[in-house]
Symmetry: C2
Subunit: 823 residues, 2 copies
Amino acid sequence: MLRHLLLRHVRRRRRYSSSSSAAAVVPLSAPTFAVFGANTGVGKTLVSAGLSAALLSSPSASAVSYLKPLQTGYPADSDARFVFTRTPALLRAASPRASRLVTSCRTLFPSPAVGAEPPHHERQETAVTYGGEGVEETKVLACRTVYAWREPVSPHLAAEREGMAVGDDEVRGFVEQWLVDGVVDEGEVWKVLETAGGVASPGPSGTLQSDLYRPFRLPAILVGDGRLGGISSTLSAYETLLLRGYDVGAVILEDRALSNDKFLLSYLRNRVCVLVLPQVPEDPSDDLTDWFSESSSVFSLLKDTLQSFHSRRIKRLSSMQRKSKDILWWPFTQHNLVPVDSVTVIDSRCGENFSAYKIKDNTMMLVPQFDACASWWTQGPDSNLQIELAKDMGYAAARYGHVMFPENVHEPALRCAELLLGGVGKGWASRVYYSDNGSTAIEIALKMAFRKFSHDHGILMDSEKNIRNDRNIQFKVLALNGSYHGDTLGAMEAQAPSAYTSFLQQPWYSGRGLFLDPPTVYVKNVTCNLSLPQSMKHDQLSSGDTCFPSLAEVFCKTRDTSSVSDLYFSYISQQLSEFSLSNSSEHIAALIIEPVIQGAGGMHMIDPLFQRVLVNECKNRKIPVIFDEVFTGFWRLGVESASELLGCLPDIACYAKLMTGGIVPLAATLATEEIFESFKSDSKLTALLHGHSYTAHAMGCSAAVKAIQWYRDPSTNSNLDFDHMRLKELWDCALVQQLSSLPNVKRAVSLGTLCAIELKAEGSDAGYASLYASSLIQQLRKEDDMYVRPLGNVIYLMCGPCTSRDSCTRQLHKVHRRLCDLN
Amino acid sequence: MLRHLLLRHVRRRRRYSSSSSAAAVVPLSAPTFAVFGANTGVGKTLVSAGLSAALLSSPSASAVSYLKPLQTGYPADSDARFVFTRTPALLRAASPRASRLVTSCRTLFPSPAVGAEPPHHERQETAVTYGGEGVEETKVLACRTVYAWREPVSPHLAAEREGMAVGDDEVRGFVEQWLVDGVVDEGEVWKVLETAGGVASPGPSGTLQSDLYRPFRLPAILVGDGRLGGISSTLSAYETLLLRGYDVGAVILEDRALSNDKFLLSYLRNRVCVLVLPQVPEDPSDDLTDWFSESSSVFSLLKDTLQSFHSRRIKRLSSMQRKSKDILWWPFTQHNLVPVDSVTVIDSRCGENFSAYKIKDNTMMLVPQFDACASWWTQGPDSNLQIELAKDMGYAAARYGHVMFPENVHEPALRCAELLLGGVGKGWASRVYYSDNGSTAIEIALKMAFRKFSHDHGILMDSEKNIRNDRNIQFKVLALNGSYHGDTLGAMEAQAPSAYTSFLQQPWYSGRGLFLDPPTVYVKNVTCNLSLPQSMKHDQLSSGDTCFPSLAEVFCKTRDTSSVSDLYFSYISQQLSEFSLSNSSEHIAALIIEPVIQGAGGMHMIDPLFQRVLVNECKNRKIPVIFDEVFTGFWRLGVESASELLGCLPDIACYAKLMTGGIVPLAATLATEEIFESFKSDSKLTALLHGHSYTAHAMGCSAAVKAIQWYRDPSTNSNLDFDHMRLKELWDCALVQQLSSLPNVKRAVSLGTLCAIELKAEGSDAGYASLYASSLIQQLRKEDDMYVRPLGNVIYLMCGPCTSRDSCTRQLHKVHRRLCDLN
């Protein structure tokens, strides 16, 4: 029954998600390990056989399932056959009592696919299994080869020479099936996957072993190298596994009289257990019986080590929900509303997917979940970029650690600045000011804008001498209702009052702005609709002014001469005039907007024409313009900077989130040379005195350098339409329209990597506190393996700039199906 | 003359700094490369010889200097001899015209030290050099072996078996000398250092090759492996070099008919150039003439590749000052006051030292600089911890990237929280709230305190229904003049007015606090002195109350019953009473202090007794107490938490900076369970609605887990006095007293990792804007290789928790000497 459940899970995943590089279902009911080699020929198969024997002679394991996904040199070499045929002998050697165990052999499948076979064999899941059952019914050993090639070379070369190509998806699909297969309700079936060659040996497609199996992130047994030079290759292989996020359960190596094990034991102390095997006889006719007999205590120790590794892992995973409830304090979370069993334990991430620890029908497993909230809108990496970033993070930490920034320069900070000015800042920005997150980038932007405004409007000419003489002058920002710029006080002050800004939350908040009601755009049924706020009179507008066949028309520059444009202009002028008439000591000293989409406010699309008119009016009045691109920047909306959609440029813009590829915090505030100039003088006191300890830290800048280039490069980002420097449509337009037409959907918006759907809700269901969407969310999380986090009644899906359209469509279908069911 | 200058530089460094793991002087006038192997026996020496021949047959190189620091199997094997004797033959093979080149041989040194020699040989810098001069005077080849052992095994094993131990410092000292040696004013002397074994093979002390030579960070030539399994070992070796911060200039490997080069070429595309050599004849009697002849075009290509790598590197380094001036905007920096040539170009960091690019007497070089400002007080790592952190950063990025935090848990966040609560939070804290930096941690702390205060004082009972009904109530903080808590508005509001908070800097600042004048403690001459502010009447105090033989007495708890304690109590009570009498709608809703030392305010030590009385008074009045430990936390002051020095506990405390070992930004606000409880209800609206995108990011938490454990563990932190859980004295007490006694020194303070010295300055020289110290600073930076950044008139030196006392003493001596010269 359990097996049935797991298989269903796997089948559903295959249907709805690309297994290509996603995390995968991994049952945790019994120990499962992957055997990696420090090099080829270091004895991975001997270790697999010895471990199998140790397991079968112990009372804890009821069965062993061994898998060799990729075999070359076949049929002369067959590691599966070796393990299967030698294990009984080892058992006898190790424990004569077990001699009658594992005696029969049964072929379950035809021979494995071997190169130079006819082409129609190529894509079959063919495999050979040696399955044995012992006298004791619960003790069984099954050994399986999946893909095999004749020539004893690396699989990528064999596949090339023998003409049998196998894709990563196929290999992974088989492994996933094997992991789920044969899980029994009682007793432990240990599973051992033996990789091919060394940790970084290519598989048939060229993907390295450690990358190929990364979605499973099975704990590793690293078979080290006892020969001269073996310390180096063992440690390097260990580091390659680290750089793929693997945990190594044990290192085991042959003694070659060089004491490599002693050195490794000392070097890896406190990190991983190191075991040493007696030297393997060099005589090829030796049947290894004596060697295995000598080695049996080591293999028994290996088994115990792995058993205890597995137990510690399970114990920790199963305690994490409770412990986190006891000692963590989550942001934006009412702890009373979070039951212990609803805490998501995230074991790892692989590209767009979490691997989450779950218990289903009393069975522990790791289950992939599509990170549909892009971890608070930060995520850019697919699984390839993630590993690239991991290498860069290791390198940057080793080369720079962190080095202080003021009056200094280091390559990552400079290169990142060059890329920012050549990309999102192109055509306007000339300076980069680094900080840590969106909120600090905004505080810095406001300080920049206020100084420039003071400069341009002659307010602070004598400020140096008399620092506090201008206290009667008050600066305010011009901003939009529904906007959000961060949680530190300065950023909060620039946004309109909301539940986030109550006295309860921040008694110091006063809301230092003139906040305008913006017109919004949304999809409902088959059209894009413009919704004007009550405060704008709009009797004279035609439906052609408020209804558009597609988003492209909304962004069209010809609207600049429409009557809507006139309406916006008079509304804005009037608001600014009224403000200056009623507040003689108050100045609007900055405009701050989120271009095109207001994120935290509920994923509202603001009419770009309105924002364009607003920007132009502020520029006319010498009010500095700030774009808060923390959410919208770096392809979030399908273009590198949302200013490309607006068709106008800021004086200052803030970037964070996606900038580092979504791996570490870093923010940048870009500014024009005119802004920068307003801080220059001969006094340190007029400098911008704002900084954070890790300003321009090398890790963040290095990540940004890699990510910015990766997104922008068609060879790494296949979503990129290079001619127009835009992402191709990721969220199927027809499907979004279909969704928007459902009776329980109020509106939809999809742009770039974002697709947002607002559910209909009335009265107390509305607003931030709404729990209305929660049943839908629970279904998506539990049944559909999507990690969704709503914004009130708004459900949104967010992918990375490189996520495949297919994957997006699969996610969208899940939501569509659930919404239909709700009706 | 230049050589003389460089040698002087090296000698001074040797005298004043530990070369053990510090960055080292590396001239950049000619290309210098280190030859690393993917494994042993892959042909490093053949590559060295081939490259030397290619260089000597080209017009660009005037000479080649080859170094083999560690040789085993000697004298049967001598790579230096091989290179020296074979290069002329290669030259003939490659270019018959050059046949008369490199003909003579000259022994400059006695035989290298070889194991089993008498012990008195052990520590000599003995070496054998084959030095040749050609017919053309400018073409020379010198090949040198430094340390050699008889047995052909790994150097660590040979050293163990043959009884000749060589420390890392000795090897590095020799390499540094070699790098500087023979630098000529004209023409290029290429230098080639050949490592022993593979990238991770141990040297004689057990330090891995890649770690042993890391202080020089020479660009690498990686000799790959063409054999079966060689793709894996080559890529793993490459990654080991990345994880040490090396740049790889080229990968070169022998063709063994497995097309390893093709795969590597494709995999490493855009990263590093891959070259392939013809297969080496297996017959040991082959003199390789034909092979070298066949290979000469590849070696020529290798030479060109390295030449162009070197040129690009130099070009970039020499353009970085100008470019950074043009596009960066440094925090806290008046750009007009930074001449282009004063910008510090930081090429890398190694433990406590920067490696900075400098031009001295028209020669480019990398020069180590002790990071005496600990990169804005963040730095913890010695060179070992830095590499440990690099591995952890690679692993965390590969395993997790970043995953969203609210209602979720992942191992690094949970483990870090456990360590925080078991360490700095022990005995009081039960919850951990993560954010990004000190400033955000403070904003969160204030929100926590205000909520708790409201709760305890019945202020907000109906706030949920009527969000803004309490606008007439004003919350203020109790804080100390001279305090500093960060640059975001909320953190600024909690500090007293200063140059940082002027209208010019932040028009929204109003200073929402009651700011008290604190008494301070300092060293002058041989005593610790207490300085009371004017606002405290203190006629009745004896000199025993204000003068202490040492800091220990200042911290002594018996002072609680002294008359100073009474004085503090009445001062504080009076201030609080006056405040509440004159402000009926205003409440002191939090106390916020930097325990013991006020950092940014000028490294002032506040009397711990005063802070203790303050904390107790606030606790009595149910005013929540916040410790800002962003600067003081994690051993900065010699104890893990400065509250141990104060002898009292907070309700809330903020940590950042050193917490991650000084590698990436991360902050934590710790709180008691009572604080946490005041946010609990059944409504999401009462939750703490403050969060940042990268809250509890896995990289930061992983770094913190490693760093916190590293500092606390006597096996990794030799400064730790484990019985008292304190750091041993790092700054020599007598020397600090001597410094404080100098006529141009006003006061000194040294505690834990901090040593601060205030220079005497009067009138316009005083204060933040002071440039008084600048000549001293320039001398320390330029002549003494110390990166010092002053706080006004305060010069401070800051090391990491694991920095050796010797290194601190050397730095202190430099400052002492300069201050004496100034007198």
